[in-house]
């Protein structure tokens, strides 16, 4: 966050673009993230949304929570569909059939839609350079279908398809770093955010929308149901994830890294892991290993950030 900006809850957009009455679980931080993202984007927005929790809970036809133009598409296609929206509007504006104005073309997907099945379409859209924002809501598993592992599930987490037990310690692969995948496309704007830090999130989404060309925002969305934590602790666990450096908040503007929040003091990773049902089976060496991995990744980003 810029030091000279004024941040106050009263200055946040008052209009709700995602209305209440949707079917999200108690304490869902993901739907909070959607709400904040839409406040940051404003009225002139078209949203293409992949199948997933956020699509299912917000649109059980004939009901809808959306007060913005919204198109739903199959799991893997939101980046491709928004590419089409952007191209279509561009053509209509060029021909003078629509008045030329800035529209925030936004694609949204969960971690499964982004890091697994839709990665090809996302990569294509980023490479083609559409003027769009891709927002990934990362709750670290396929929560909509009942907590199956995704490639974004962190090392050691137990899910229904990576169950912890005698023969397995849960997810044994490392979390795919989608933020770095997006950075590798050399696009103008990449950022990570978390709804536990709402001003930071709104700021980043605004910047992503203002930047011409593709932007990617990766949002850590705490899922009390899937992480097996009490619903009232969702915001706290978002803070713990950031303060323990499990999920560093940073942005990459035209290749330049900048940490937007430096936790001080950095809290032990154990504080973040303990209390989450999905990590309850972890042994001391496992936690030590996770601590090392997290520390190394954080130091790398700090270094990149300090270089500028």
């Amino acid at each position: 966050m810029d030091k000279y900006s004024v941040f106050s809850a009263r200055l946040i957009e008052q209009t709700e673009y995602l209305t209440s009455g949707h079917r999200a679980c108690q304490g869902c931080a993901e739907v909070l993230a959607v709400r904040l993202v839409l406040k940051a984007l404003g009225r002139d927005t078209i949203v293409a949304m992949s199948t997933g929790c956020m699509e299912i809970i917000s649109s059980p036809l004939p009901l809808t929570s959306w007060k913005l133009p919204w198109i739903h598409n199959a799991f893997e296609n939101s980046a491709a569909v928004i590419s089409g929206c952007e191209s279509g509007m561009k053509a209509m504006m060029r021909k003078g059939k629509l008045p030329a104005k800035k529209i925030n073309f936004t694609a949204m997907g969960g971690d499964g839609a982004t890091a697994d099945i839709g990665m090809g379409a996302l990569s294509g859209a980023l490479e083609r350079g559409h003027d769009m924002v891709y927002v990934c809501y990362d709750n670290e598993a396929y929560m909509n279908t009942g907590i199956q592992r995704s490639s974004s599930t962190p090392y050691g987490a137990s899910t229904t398809t990576s169950p912890a037990g005698k023969a397995s310690m849960g997810q044994h692969t490392q979390k795919k770093n989608m933020t770095q995948v997006a950075v590798a496309h050399n696009i103008p704007y990449v950022a990570t955010a978390c709804p536990s830090f709402p001003f930071d999130l709104i700021d980043k989404v605004k910047r992503a929308a203002e930047m011409p060309g593709p932007a990617y925002v990766h949002i850590m969305s705490v899922c009390p149901t899937g992480w097996r934590i009490p619903p009232e602790d969702a915001i706290r666990y978002g803070r713990l994830a950031v303060d323990s450096c499990m999920f560093p908040l940073y942005e990459v503007v035209n290749g330049k890294y900048r940490l937007t929040y430096r936790p001080n003091p950095i809290i032990p990773i154990r504080d973040y892991l303990s209390g989450q049902g999905r990590y309850r089976h972890l042994t001391e060496p496992d936690i030590e290993k996770i601590n090392d991995m997290v520390g190394r990744e954080y130091q790398r980003i700090v270094k990149m950030s300090d270089e500028v």
Binding site: D116, I117, Y142, Q148, T161, S162, P163, A167
Partner: protein, 355 residues
């Protein structure tokens, strides 16, 4: 072997384990998630492989790779996911590789919903992918049948070197029933065509790119001869109260169960109704149907779709009897009383003296 109380999705998985399925590749989609979860839980213990892929396309192509090495292999999904698998199924047919694909159908088209439906009949029986091919399709109507037919499907796949489709729906998948499972298979069949590393012999290859049109035609006719064999040997169907029937219901899977309830209901009132339930949807029991129309004038087709199996019934009966269709698409599960009303109505029309 004792009875186990188990859900349909778990029964698919358990039967596959007993049939010697060595690899399972899947991707989450409701209403078949429990199948993959069961595999995740059990495959590792048996030193077999469970992989959750990054997409349905990846899963079916992992199936291709695994089948090419001679492993018994299965994948599962629900309607939208099976649409993504179609390319791979066409390749399996072209390669002549055995595999079992489970489709736990849900409402469509598009993303539809997660309620049970029978809207994928065309896709399954007509070959949803490209090219001239057929896929044997089994449609279980109870959890016991899920267990038996899945076990059988692996044998059919290996015997004919073909992908086999298990066509079920959300209700079958989620429903729990007592089941007696077949004994675990002892020895798996030898596959002399499998890719296993060259060793001292000549190199084998698996390829479906045949640029020479005459060769391609030959390959197509070879497949047809195989499909003829399947049509000759593998047709399964159930006859229900057909001996004295005057009006005959044709239904499969979940709908057939509901229709049984309807038939029991109308029989109490002296309406002589019966049912022919196709268990294999391809090959379709055409001959059994054609034989029936020698003595039966009225057929009723029930489906949880807008009329897909109806076309197979029309082809089989070839205009020799009246067919009435009643369908509930989009995930609505009808009640027996609803079917019973249709049977009453048609029966009355049939027996009413002509003026």
């Amino acid at each position: 072997m004792s009875k186990i109380f188990i859900s349909g999705n778990h029964a698919f998985a358990e039967a596959a384990l007993r049939a010697g399925c060595q690899c399972y590749f899947g991707y989450p989609i409701t209403p078949q998630n429990e199948l993959g979860e069961y595999m995740a839980d059990h495959m590792r213990k048996l030193d077999r492989v469970f992989i959750q892929s990054e997409s349905e396309t990846a899963a079916i192509n992992m199936v291709i790779g695994s089948a090419a090495t001679g492993a018994r292999v299965m994948t599962s999904s629900s309607s939208p996911g099976v649409s993504l698998k179609q390319e791979g199924i066409s390749f399996l047919a072209g390669f002549e590789l055995p595999a079992v694909i489970v489709n736990v159908m849900r409402g469509g088209p598009g993303l539809g919903n997660i309620a049970p439906s029978q809207g994928d009949y065309f896709q399954a029986t007509r070959g949803g992918g490209h090219g001239d091919y057929r896929t044997p399709v089994f449609a279980p109507a109870s959890v016991q049948e899920i267990a038996d037919l899945t076990y059988h499907a692996f044998d059919v796949a290996d015997r004919y070197r073909t992908p086999v489709m298990m066509l079920s729906d959300g209700m079958m998948g989620q429903m729990k029933e007592p089941v007696v499972f077949p004994e675990p298979i002892g020895k798996l069949p030898d596959k002399e065509w499998a890719l296993k590393g060259r060793g001292d012999g000549p190199s084998r290859y698996i390829c479906s790119l045949i640029l020479d049109v005459v060769e391609m035609e030959r390959h197509n006719w070879k497949l047809v001869r195989k499909y003829d064999e399947i049509e000759k040997n593998e047709i399964l169907y159930e006859e229900y109260m057909l001996d004295d029937a005057e009006i005959v219901v044709i239904a499969y899977g979940t709908t057939a169960r509901i229709a049984k309830g309807a038939i029991k209901r109308v029989r109490k009132d002296g309406v002589r109704a019966g049912m022919l339930r196709p268990i294999t949807l391809w090959p379709f029991p055409k001959k059994a149907l054609a034989d029936l129309c020698a003595r039966i004038r009225q057929f009723v087709v029930f489906e949880m779709s807008t009329g897909q199996m109806l076309e197979d019934v029309q082809i089989a009966l070839a205009g020799r009897a009246d067919i009435v269709f009643h369908g509930r698409p989009g995930g609505v599960v009808p009640m027996p009383v609803e079917f019973a009303r249709i049977i009453y109505r048609e029966y009355q029309k049939m027996t009413k003296p002509q003026i």
